[in-house]
Amino acid sequence: MSVTMREAPAVSTSRRVIPDGRYPFSGLLASEWTKLRTVRSTMWTLLATAVAGIGIGAIATAATAARWSRMSPLRRLSFDPTRVSLTGLLLAQLAIGILGILVVSAEYSTGTIRATFSVAPRRSAVLVAKAIVFGAVALVSGEVVSFVAFFSGQAILSGKAPHATLSQPDVLRAVVGGGLYLAVLGLLALGIAAIVRHSAGAIGTFVGILLILPLIVAALPSSIGNQIGRYLPANIGVVLLSTRHLGSSFSPWVGFGVLCGYAVAAIAIGGALIVRRDV
């Protein structure tokens, strides 16, 4: 492609005026929003979140509906139609987590971070702006996916098996909780990325916490395993998506509080490291 450059340097026509005050936080939010919506990975990971959350949920629900007539009474007793319709969220969490990671790690891998910190040297403010913008996008997407998964799942169940409505106890909490869970887990991933900085390392750590850690805990004697198990993000997620109380786990909101604590801690540690490290 051919490009022509204007010959005479006419960079400034008027005298430069520097406004009072300093670069505002709102500018950082606007900047982060532009960054998020101008890369394709955002669209792809959000699409993956929706496909996994809604599609996998629908498949799992349809399979359960088809099996219902042959299910044992014990299985029928523990059947949680809300939980089944939200099954896909446990896969969607990986996609939203990857987006949370890329929000930070893609800036490091491409070198954009140096441009970012050259216009906004308050690095912790940049990280907070990222967390707010990504958190808002993840929350809206998470809630949409959770509600759509719930309603489509209940539509699949109706007529074949018992189904849930939002007015039943704990159902609204589980569906709203599904979206909250995705958002906060995404923020935890973002915090991990701020600590690790590399996409691969951050994704490995995040997946390890979600998928590998539960396997290790399951291998422990149950007396210890149950004590540790309830602190696992994956366990907290399952509790939040269920309308029934599960064994030794935290109650849904206590568990959610613990998860929020993880996310805040990861972002705070990541922020402290970003401020100290060279870029």
Binding site: R6, S31, V39, E107, V279
Partner: protein, 315 residues
């Protein structure tokens, strides 16, 4: 105005920048010269607050970079040609930088026009050539219409027209009263562009002088002498106060004595001469002589070869 005082940076036990002190003043182009690996990029990162100094300080308009209220409106930097997310468009890249410092959209469009990227502003930066990446970086540096500008090897990857354009632009920016600090590993390029040169090697300051002075100093003459009795001749020349160095091919390079003095001295001592020829050093040779022995790599061609990647040096 950029003030650098006792600036030092270690990476582990490697010293990248060692006790650098110099000022970069407004109204002229200051060339920042040194072989690859000399610490130019590190110095620029330290000025931009991207890396923290191990000792000393670098300030812009009397403040540390972190304390500037509107960084982009005071300092514009173009440090790496393609340190941009390849999936993002040129407009989006500039716009997100502009937003952080409340710079209007109109200015983004003007700068895209200025660097000649307006027609490709929606294309993904990943498809850009190195030269287009350079121009996008220049547009980013100019976004805030800043009074202080830093450019790290801005002509790498540009065609001759582009190089001329950058040279012209740098001079124009300085003429507008801005502080313009440009690094290069090519003395010949800086001789055409800069008013002042700061030369570093191995992180240390080697020279800080007007280009005219550097050129005058480098055009200093020397004489090439070949003789079968070079030992006796060099001893005699040295005792007369001349500086003699022996080249690999066995010839002697003599400074501080002209061909007439050397010829007469040889005749007096009955020393046979096979060659007696006055020479003058090129700018590039003067630059090499200054940074000689301080090269990271023994390969002296590193100086003459253009850095193909345009990154200058890594960490």
């Amino acid at each position: 105005m950029i003030e650098i005082k006792g600036l030092t940076k270690h990476y582990g036990d490697k010293v990248a920048v060692d006790q650098l002190s110099f000022d970069v003043v407004p109204g002229r182009v200051t060339g920042f010269l040194g072989p690859n690996g000399a610490g130019k990029s590190t110095t620029m990162r330290l000025v931009m607050g991207l890396d923290a100094p191990s000792a000393g300080s670098a300030t812009v308009n009397g403040r540390r970079f972190h304390d500037l209220p509107w960084p982009l409106r005071e300092v514009g930097a173009h440090l790496e040609a393609k340190a941009i997310n390849p999936g993002r468009g040129a407009f989006a890249h500039l716009w997100m930088l502009a937003q952080a410092n409340r710079i209007p959209r109109r200015r983004v469009e003007e700068m895209l026009q200025f660097v000649g990227l307006a027609d490709v502003s929606r294309q993904r930066v990943g498809k850009f050539s190195l030269g287009m990446g350079q121009r996008l970086g220049i547009a980013a540096a100019l976004l805030g219409d800043p009074g202080v500008l830093l450019f790290d090897e801005p002509v790498n990857g540009l065609d001759p027209d582009g190089i001329r354009w950058v040279r012209h632009m740098l001079k124009g920016l300085a003429a507008e009263g801005r502080t313009v600090f440009v690094s290069s590993h090519l003395m010949s390029e800086m001789a055409l562009t800069a008013d002042q040169v700061v030369v570093i090697a191995r992180g240390r300051l080697m020279a800080d002088m007007p280009v005219s002075e550097f050129t005058a100093a480098s055009s200093q003459r020397f004489v090439r002498v070949r003789s079968p009795e070079k030992g006796r001749l060099s001893a005699a020349l040295a005792s007369e106060g001349a500086e003699v160095t022996e080249e690999r091919d066995g010839s002697l390079f003599v400074r501080g004595a002209n061909e007439v003095e050397i010829g007469e001295l040889a005749a007096r001592l009955s020393i046979v001469l096979h060659e007696l020829s006055p020479q003058s050093a090129s700018l590039e040779e003067a630059f090499m002589a200054m940074t000689e022995g301080s090269l990271e790599y023994s390969n002296t061609h590193a100086l003459a070869d253009a850095d193909p990647v345009g990154r200058g040096v890594g960490r």
